[in-house]
Subunit: 212 residues, 2 copies
DNA sequence: GAGAAATTCAAACAACTGTTTGAATGCAAT
DNA sequence: ATTGCATTCAAACAGTTGTTTGAATTTCTC
């Protein structure tokens, strides 16, 4: 019956929950921790959201907003290769941008759900992955041409997706490897330049191999 | 299914723990669940291992055995490219072999630790990743030649590593995407052939780009 | 300002966690 | 048979979890 015009404990709870869920994961996060950070009583979560699960749902709704717009606006004056470069630039800078708290939390939660899928993964895929994946697939279809089989297109699409996510997943590993591996942060341009070159080389090789 | 040929409850506990830890992860796994599957008393874990943490440590020790041998025996008669192909074949068939329970559990636990690193990740990296990563790095160094900078070599190494792990991580995502993405299981040859072509094309492109 | 509704709060709840306890049991050597 | 040790077991422990309760307090409405 009543929208909240004033910022109050409900918003504070949501904000704190985003922090904790991203940091600890759903299971390890405790409502007491969340309420503590929000300066709220333990019962506040159940009063305002109905429970821990519902709160997590509200966080997902907040952190994976509906987005109609494409990652990269289609520009007919640019080649598919340039289009791919724009796409890689946009996606990488979002994935590895540690400046925006909510975006960081988004990918942290995404990673957690990938490693241990819950029923919420359907929602996340629909909101976060599906549009971006379709966009990439369209770009690759142009680069690879009409003769490439569907499963090759799917494999390639998955490959490039994993090249972008690479350091998001493997940073904890890379940090423990010798010799020391470089981080993406602070070298974004170099990273994008590299995966663009690598991807394009891979795509062309795949395209060639399907001609024979 | 409840017949216990195991005269040793300690072994039964270890075996059950491998199952549960791989399936649920450390936090969500309960000693009661483990003891139940092992037909053992709840106190058995503490008696035989000293606690849940120590049991997890024992599981890691069992599931990530010391391996001195290389993934692919070096064969001077083969080119670096063929060497890479052998490496990709060996690694992929291990990662995606759902036949061997322990190997499946190994990668499940590895994935969990990657998404939510604990202090045990150091051990896992040292046992599981470091030797394989060094091996791959050596192969790539030969393919890319001596002129390629270190950070490019590191990036490329990480790239190919992530291409192999790709479907292990993203299968839950791919299952929820439209159009349906192909699985690796049942198409191992096609998968390896693809990532080999893609990788080699990417590597050559990277090598070319460093010449200018 | 009175009354009603919405919100906060301390406290308790019930279920679950890993762990401990101390008695009962099994078993091999004497 | 008895001793001594290793193992099992039911029960309880102490702590944490999400959730509920019912009274106190604030906020809003008239």
């Amino acid at each position: 019956m009543n929208e909240k015009p004033d910022v109050n404990t409900k918003d504070a709870l949501l904000s704190a929950a985003m922090e904790v869920f991203a940091d600890k994961g759903f299971d390890a996060a405790t409502v007491r921790d969340i309420c503590g950070r929000a300066n709220a009583n333990v019962a506040a979560v159940n009063y305002h959201f109905g429970g821990k699960d519902a709160l997590y749902g509200a966080v997902l709704e907040e952190i994976f907003p509906k987005e109609e717009h494409l990652t990269v606006e289609p520009d007919t004056s640019r080649s598919p290769e340039e289009h791919l470069h724009d796409y890689l630039t946009a996606m990488s800078s979002e994935i590895y941008d540690r400046g925006n708290g909510m975006v960081t939390q988004r990918w942290a939660i995404f990673l957690r759900e990938m490693a241990k899928p819950s029923h919420n993964l359907d929602f996340i895929v629909q909101r976060q992955v599906q549009p971006r994946a379709s966009e990439l697939r369209a770009i690759l279809a142009k680069i690879l041409g009409p003769d490439v089989p569907d499963h090759i297109l799917a494999f390639s699409s998955s490959n490039i997706w994993s090249l972008m996510l690479d350091h998001l997943l493997t940073q904890p590993i890379l940090d423990r490897l010798k010799p020391k591996r470089p981080m993406v942060q602070g070298n974004m341009e170099g990273f994008v330049k590299h995966i663009f070159t690598f991807s394009l080389g891979g795509l062309n090789a795949v395209k060639e191999s399907t001609k024979g």
